[in-house]
Homo-oligomer: 343 residues x 2
Amino acid sequence: MTISDVANRAGVSVATVSKVLNRRYGVSASTMSKVQAVIDELGFESSIVARSLRSHRTNVIGILVADLEPFSSEFLKGAGRAIHGSGYELMVYSAGGPGAEHVGWERRNLSRLGGTLIDGAIIVTPTVETPDGTIPSIAVDPQRGRSGLPMVDSDNLKGARVAVEHLLSLGHRRIGFLAGRPDLASAEQREAGYRQALTEHGIEVDPALIQVGAYEQELAADAARSLLTLPDRPTAVFAANDRSAIETLEVARALEIDVPAGLSVVGFDNIPESVMCEPPLTTVDQSIQDMGVRAVEMLLQLLDGKQLDETHVTLPTELVVRQSTAAAPARRRTTSPRPRRPR
Amino acid sequence: MTISDVANRAGVSVATVSKVLNRRYGVSASTMSKVQAVIDELGFESSIVARSLRSHRTNVIGILVADLEPFSSEFLKGAGRAIHGSGYELMVYSAGGPGAEHVGWERRNLSRLGGTLIDGAIIVTPTVETPDGTIPSIAVDPQRGRSGLPMVDSDNLKGARVAVEHLLSLGHRRIGFLAGRPDLASAEQREAGYRQALTEHGIEVDPALIQVGAYEQELAADAARSLLTLPDRPTAVFAANDRSAIETLEVARALEIDVPAGLSVVGFDNIPESVMCEPPLTTVDQSIQDMGVRAVEMLLQLLDGKQLDETHVTLPTELVVRQSTAAAPARRRTTSPRPRRPR
DNA sequence: CTGAAAGCGCTAACAG
DNA sequence: CTGTTAGCGCTTTCAG
């Protein structure tokens, strides 16, 4: 059913129907109600596609994600809450999964949708620098190096430090790191936090204890495995995100290493899955939902023609201690024992 | 940037560029590579909007939801997993929140997107009967009465019965019910399960113990409050979904009723939030992610021109006992005590 | 093998 | 107040 069907049925031109649809002036009351009646009767809704192609205004905000996984799903809950009552609707576009698409999915999708389908965009974990030229956009947890876009992220450096300090306070000295996606600033910051915390406590960073999981299931599992099968394996692992941490839990189980008795694991993100795994994961909370709320609020301001108060919002992170961390096992006689640090 | 820009730059017509874009036959190798070079250089991506308006094929699957809340977010995780490697991309369209939009959002959005933007649709908790005429579609947890669409839901009746039987086995006799959205078949089934379980145990259903929360925060809170301030208040409440159950937890806290000592609460859904609340909620799991997986798989089959093996998939439900339920408090001397049933 | 032209459903000037 | 006309960016006949 198209606008012409309505026009025919109502005995007017398509232009008139369009005017009624958009509540434009210049339609007599009688025509108006006649046309409206036909619209209601037929249940006609104008195609957002055709409309946007012509008018370049849709009242739809786009959220571009690489994949629908726990992080982005959590983000969407916040975005969904923030959009209520704004008059905008939300369109989430998923590039169709990890890996499959090459770097640059967000650029591709933005140009496929932008300028037409959506009035503004929120780009979650973009992989490359996103051009500022097109529609108003916000970057969430972006790639390394400043993008030109306004952005929201969280305090990854501090979060990572607190996580590692927690492990240190439990007496761990050999702490492995499961690194994240090398292109993301957040992952880089988490590694920096790990290094800082160790260095400040007089512990040399052992390159063998750093493996890249890249936030991908298989890679993370491999990385965890090589960490846990090291001759002098770490007594604790800090993973750059919860999914990698949960993967580490799996690998530990397969290797019959008890967590937390034989191995402590800390994650990052505090996705819901971190509570539901066995044992529940000690992790760094980064209030993902709030990121969604803030990103939508910022975009709404931009769309409203307002100036942004802050062009870079950084949300706080916080350690959440659950059951995947415990005091380090008594050290093997490789070096003189050091006193345990108090929590 | 449009296809004409590419055509100009490459010194060919738009038609030729289009052919290259779509890998159509009838382009010489040299022209092909020349045009492709320009496309790559400019980073051109054809507008999905313009393309779909003309060609009616987009390789995009639409998921229509009323709102992005825990249930739909969980559903999306499953859908996201199932789409990997299918060659399709996912577009989630949220009607913009609860209540705001009237009944029939799914019909409206379907006709706004359908036939053009998306090749097929998954409609989550539709409110009205959805016409089958348009594009291939799957209904998830639909309204009461059979819709013409293939559907996936879960065994709500049995789940509700098991939930109530759990409460009965703990010695509860006055069990309140916080009903769901009256238009959903699932909500109806959960109420039916509640009634059945009580009746089978020789307990008369007290209408005063049934309040409608309609899955909406405010309404659910009001309903819970009226239940818990009843002169002879129930010792347990079965809520038709987790969000209502969590709301009940809040109300109980406000009324200084201890859960589970003074009140047992059971939810339905097993959304991640049910683990994170205080106390963790005993609930009925309905593997929401699996619903997402199945719905996508079914739609993919439909899109592939295949016949569906099953036109109505019902997933199992399972009781998950956590800390919000406990033995009923000693009964007041209103009637002779009955022996406690074993679990 | 290539390009001109028509048209997808709609909106926005502009004439009548 | 109403209808005619010209596109939005793209694909698709169909001539050349």
